[in-house]
């Protein structure tokens, strides 16, 4: 029995080491100099840790790039922030209202509508990509932050609606009846009864939507143009550029900078993230 216990912890620690190894390699590479990277192994700790690569990834290096903008990732970071915050609140807000009306106000076709939304979560974005490009272009917001916010709301609403609708379905009918007898209308019931009840699910939806929007690549690539490049697109460009000598430490620092916001949200939110990720996994 004791022997088994050791094997159990041994296996768990081995799995933990294997999963954390790439993260460790990313961090330690970002703190090394290029000389050390060329002459050492990816597993060694940096002998002389420095944040030089981080600052180069963030501020850019204007001495090397030719003609291209040398702004580093800081401007894309700001773009991502400007996209995430409005898109987050709009998609979660819209999902809450839609989920509430579908679950509580039983009207004709509510179930058909829900089924249609559920299917919508699985549709690969590639299938609607080109018509969406035309729509955004016709609205005159292609290649801009408002355009990206709109496509994120469009792509997020199925997921947020599903989360809220499934939660509101579990609210006891008696509570709703009591509120209605007290004369609460559509919006009063929403603001004063349902929304306060849904705080935990609101947290889950916010965390997941933040992660999805921040981590998105395809929409940013397609709709961002030159001025609206979010962080993931900028990172991919930086790593993929064939300009001059590859600087792996700068690449890894840039990767770390891209990953940090969602990592922080994950580590701070813990359980809420776990609860939501299963429900939202279909979004991929």
């Amino acid at each position: 029995m004791r022997y088994n216990r050791w094997a159990l912890y041994g296996l768990l620690c081995l799995a933990a080491v294997m999963i954390m190894a790439p993260v460790f390699i990313m961090i330690s590479t970002s703190l090394k100099s290029m000389d050390e990277i060329r002459n050492g192994s990816i597993f060694t700790l940096p002998t002389d840790p420095s944040f030089a690569a981080w600052s180069k990834a963030w501020f850019g290096d204007c001495t090397q790039t030719l003609g291209e903008k040398c702004g580093g990732l800081s401007s894309s970071f700001m773009t991502s922030v400007q996209i995430v915050i409005p898109a987050l609140f709009l998609s979660v807000g819209l999902g809450a209202v839609t989920g509430y009306s579908l679950a509580v106000w039983k009207m004709k076709g509510a179930n058909v509508m829900f089924a249609a939304l559920l299917v919508g979560m699985f549709i690969p974005p590639q299938v609607t990509l080109y018509p969406l490009i035309i729509m955004i272009r016709e609205l005159g917001i292609f290649g801009s932050i408002p355009g990206l916010i709109l496509v994120h709301v469009i792509w997020g609403v199925a997921f947020t609606t599903m989360m809220f609708r499934n939660f509101f379905k579990t609210v006891p009918q008696d509570l709703l009846k009591a509120a209605r007898i007290d004369g609460a209308g559509f919006w009063r019931l929403f603001w004063h009864v349902m929304l306060p009840l849904s705080l935990p699910i609101l947290g889950v939806a916010m965390i997941l939507q933040f992660t999805y929007i921040w981590n998105d690549f395809l929409l940013g690539l397609t709709f961002g143009g030159r001025s609206g490049q979010p962080m993931t697109v900028a990172l991919n460009n930086l790593v993929g550029s064939q300009f001059g000598e590859k600087e792996y430490n700068v690449d890894m620092a840039a990767t770390m900078l891209t990953a940090l916001p969602t990592l922080a949200v994950y580590l701070l939110s813990g359980r809420l993230f776990v609860r939501g990720i299963a429900a939202g996994a279909v979004k991929g």
Partner: protein, 283 residues
């Protein structure tokens, strides 16, 4: 009234746009949509396209390895944690950590780890095993496997969490009974618990399939579809033809075929979800 925005999005941006894409796939559109219909010519071209078949074949290989790997490792990790370990929360947090990162981040990290010149291969050789070879990322016949490695690394935590939730729902009396009967723990898992978990396996399979079929970011960041088109996937084929190659009609045809594949895999799941709903309301 409050439903109008979401309804418009669903009807126009989901279903309307799918039809629009289908219509484009029936035309000869290249850079811009032109509505001169040519029937199923684009589909004929698509099925004659070697790169498309490479991508479809890769989808099958990647899907098999990725889903299989996630299910096997995820279930195994869930069982380990379910054995009642201390610091369970810490292990869970660590296993799910990669989930919070984007596929782009995952791809870039693994591209560096698998870098044949300075990455894992060199590091292992430096430890003394000089014949060690791990250069899959630059080998056309192996690059597709690197996608599964990086993909499993990122998603295994999700599978673990789903399986763990399933294991926690198992009636504790089963464990008591099996202990009384003296059945070894591994046999209880294999012959009793695993069959009871079939709905969880089904859910995991569907969720992972949805991820596989949409896989785009990971290929772009990890291999760029290369070397050549050796690790290309359908989702990347479609985006490439629509955005870069001025082959709108062909890309639309590919997108539509991709959608049909998704529907074929997903529809049993949707059916069960809706049936569950209807069953639940009966009470």
């Amino acid at each position: 009234m409050a439903l109008i925005p979401a309804m418009t999005i669903t009807i126009v941006c989901f279903y309307g746009f799918i039809i629009w894409t289908f219509v484009i796939s029936l035309t000869r559109s290249r850079l811009l949509p032109v509505y001169k219909f040519t029937g199923f010519e684009q589909y004929v071209r698509l099925f004659a396209n070697e790169r498309w078949w490479t991508a479809m074949q890769n989808l099958a290989i990647h899907g098999f390895l990725f889903i299989g790997g996630c299910v096997v490792f995820g279930y195994f990790l869930a069982i380990l944690i379910d054995r009642g370990v201390k610091a369970e929360g810490m292990f869970r947090t660590l296993f799910m950590l990669p989930l919070s990162m984007s596929f782009i981040v995952t791809g870039v990290i693994w591209q560096w780890v698998m870098n044949p010149g300075l990455g894992l291969q060199e590091a292992v050789r430096a430890l003394g095993w000089t014949g060690f070879e791990f250069n899959w990322i630059v080998r056309p016949d192996r690059s597709i496997y690197t996608l599964a490695i990086a993909g499993i690394w990122q998603q295994v935590g999700l599978c673990m969490a789903l399986f763990l939730a399933g294991l926690r729902n198992i009636d504790p009396n089963i464990w008591k009974a099996s202990r009384v009967d003296g059945i070894p723990v591994w046999r209880v898992y294999l012959h009793i618990i695993t069959p009871m978990m079939r709905t969880v396996f089904f859910t995991v399979f569907i969720l992972m399939s949805a991820i596989v079929m949409k896989a785009f970011d990971l290929v772009v960041a990890l291999t760029g579809g290369g070397p050549g088109f050796s690790s290309d996937l359908p989702a990347r084929f479609v985006v490439d033809h629509i955005l870069n190659r001025q082959e709108l009609g062909l890309g639309a045809a590919g997108a539509f075929v991709l959608l049909c594949t998704v529907i074929a895999v997903i529809s049993p799941y949707i059916y069960f979800e809706l049936k569950k709903e209807r069953g639940g309301r009966g009470h």
